[in-house]
Amino acid sequence: MFNRLFAIVLLIVFCAAGAPERAIAQRVAPPPKALLSKQATTRPPGSGPLDPSPIPAFWTCVGNCGTDGADGVVTLSPAGNSAYEWVSTSGGAGGAGILPSGSLGSETNGSTLRTPVFSGTMGTNLSFFFNYVTSDGAGYADYAWAELYNSDNIPVALLFTARTETSGSIIPGLGMPAPLATLVPASVPIHPGGPSYPELGSYSGYCWDAGCGYTGWVRASYVIPATGNYYLKVGVVNWLDTLYDSALAVDGVTLGGVPITLLSGSLDVEYGTDTAKSSWLALTSASDSQGKPLNMKDAATQLGFDHFNWLQIITTDLQLQACAANPALGGCSSDFTMNGKVPAIPTADPPAGGYAYELCPAAETAVDGCQSAFPAQDYWAVYFDEYFAPVSASSNYYKASPGAPEYLQEFRAGNTLKLMGAINQSPATALGFSFSDAPNTSFVVPGTATTKESIVFVDALVGVKGSCNLLVSSNCSFQIIPGTTFTWTSTDGIVSPQLSPGGPGTSAVVSAALQGKASTGVKKQLNHFPVGPVDLTGAELASSLISVDQFLSMAGLTPDSLAAMGGSVATFSASLIPSQAAALAAVNAGTTLVSPGQLATTTSGLAYSRVSQTFNGTLTLKNVGKTAITGPLQVLFNGLPATVTLANGTGSLAGTPYLTAPVSSLAPGQSLTVAVQFKNSASTAINFEASIYSGSIH
């Protein structure tokens, strides 16, 4: 609004001063249709704001960023890479791209891009190339910059600035803090003219006035002042208005002449249940670029977060729905929230401020400080509390604990469900962050005769940053991490990805009769991690996983309502652990998991051949069940070490090799032996976990 008013004021001033009408009209009007048409026909696929190429894994973008090759006036950089990263004010976010030290006064919209964290040794030279491109000019002083941060998000050094100016050197930027990097060349005039560069969006090829153009590639060098973990952030921002965009290309970040070695490799998520299927489990973990486990603090930091949490939304809850229709039903009052009503579906779990059943008796408050009045939970949407903590491991009651809130209890020593290890780990030492919930749904819905309680959830791993350990804060936010969104159901005490609320063909019938009795304290069970978790495989996993769009739809969220909760969607994705990714691929390929209890898998030893340089043996499958197993059988070799490959494999499913055992049927007691052959470049231990699927791979 301000920009438009400002433009109108300018228009009036310029008209009064007899300024050329053509120029003024060009400034305040959207680009002519001819220009838009030109963009649509000349724009290379996969570049620019309409279809941005993805930024590298674990890089984080605010606004509009991407990866591009030689394009228009921007050539490949002297680093010799085949692509570079860029940020642009075109498609930028309001308030993004402002100098880290603070606003200079008239910034509007822009973008930032940050690298993952890398390790820097004191005295090592950090170097990179950048190229500033601007279609603006004549006082519309858009600018760009780069800042080195430490892993605690503290700015360490402003490395360069570049700013649109009518004449002279535009690096460093006029009126900006002095940069600390050594720049080559040290003084850079603009290559004048409307720069043709698709990342400028509709302003590619256009020039507002004197000052438009591009700098060409400039090398920035800076000596790391102290050994530690750092990341690099670059930004670009519009000045005075959002018209006539500018962009910054960056490439070839090296440390001591070597491309930065990122700590990051992948963020993984794993799903399971307990053996009784009474609880639902998820665990996230991370590994570095060498595949070694990465602690949860480093993983969160590299992704631009302070820590992880989970977001759980209740999309269906027969009890809550019955209680919403008739709050007088028995047991409903325990699910009342701060507004004196049960939460409306869909609702965050727990709802803001918590449930009435989480209010502890006044007498207990005197003993352990638990909350006897609302709020009993924080106001953030995330599942594990950012401000309160349970007064004990088995309690539903919470007390204020901003220094050690509840989410910290869910960091674990292990990084797989089977070996997840102790809870209450420091994120700096934890290898996993867990989610578990075991809602009590073994009761009849209030107001119904026989309908058992059923709840449908959607969940996501989220990265959290800002001051969230405050009851009221203006800068607590979270990002949903794509690849971690899933749905599950608890009906009559059994969790499943497939059960429909109320069971097949039934639904809650609310009546006036108080025939049911709601259970209390059923919504959040924090410490129900079983001893023997079971990974989800096959159809169950396929039924549980949903996309971010499905998550938002089921949760009744729009981008705006998500933003109102402090939420957004991250620009990177997490992955399923390899064995679950392979299981999902096997199911999608048309096969069915054979229960491990039905097939016994054994192997011979492995004889090494110097001729074929392979380890050779046999694998035997024996039907130890009571029914025949239909063939062919697909043997998936999960968890092979990185240096080991299956040399005689049939193919791979989501990166996991498999071998087809050609058998039409395997009767009870019958065995099948197949040859196996492994390449083992490092002579490490060859080990794997076999999972067997029945049927042909389509």
Binding site: T602, L606, A607, Y608, S609, V611, S612, F615, N680
Partner: protein
Amino acid sequence: MCNTQSPWIVAILLGLASWACAAPVTYDVHVNTASTVGTVGSIDFNFNPGPLNSQSASVEILAFSSDGSPAGSSSLTGSVSGTLPATLTFDNSTPFNDYFDDFTFGSVLSFKVSLSGAALNAPDGTSDSGSSFAFSMFSDAAGTIPALTNDTINGFAFIVDVNLDGSTTVSNYSAQATVVAEQAGGGVSNVPEPSSLILTSATLFLMGALRGLRRARRRLPELPLGRLEPF
């Protein structure tokens, strides 16, 4: 489950079993290398566990004899010790246990392969991988050209597998090699046998158990017609 009315059988079986525990399984190996006399090639022995859980086992190469001779320094990898023609000792405690040596072939080559350890004489019933011993001969010093074998892909002369039930199985790919199991007491059997003592013990045990079961069945009261015996 055991026939407790026949303690003498149990005692005998236990005695046999303990005797079996002490006895390694030995194969006598003879290779006619006349077709490669004078060739400077190489030989390889390796003994490795499987990819799952293997019970402990070890192998000794004894009585190595040939009119040919090792031609260079040997290369040892993993849990293996010794130098030919003296005794070589392998175990399966590491993934890859290998002895490789240049060898100038004469007209004959012989040695004994002696396997022992818990995997052979006390199989635990829970391990899910066996172990395998392999012997190969090559007509080049680098060990890339198989010799004296029909296995042109992998080049194995023979493999001895230690199975999960404690038995052993020989797969002989060489027409020039004989691999003969030594019988208890030092003789040899022309047919490679699974651990015969354990097999005998198991047979005796099963006979005793069956006998006890027959007795037990006779003692069962008659069930009413149409009613199933509980599991």
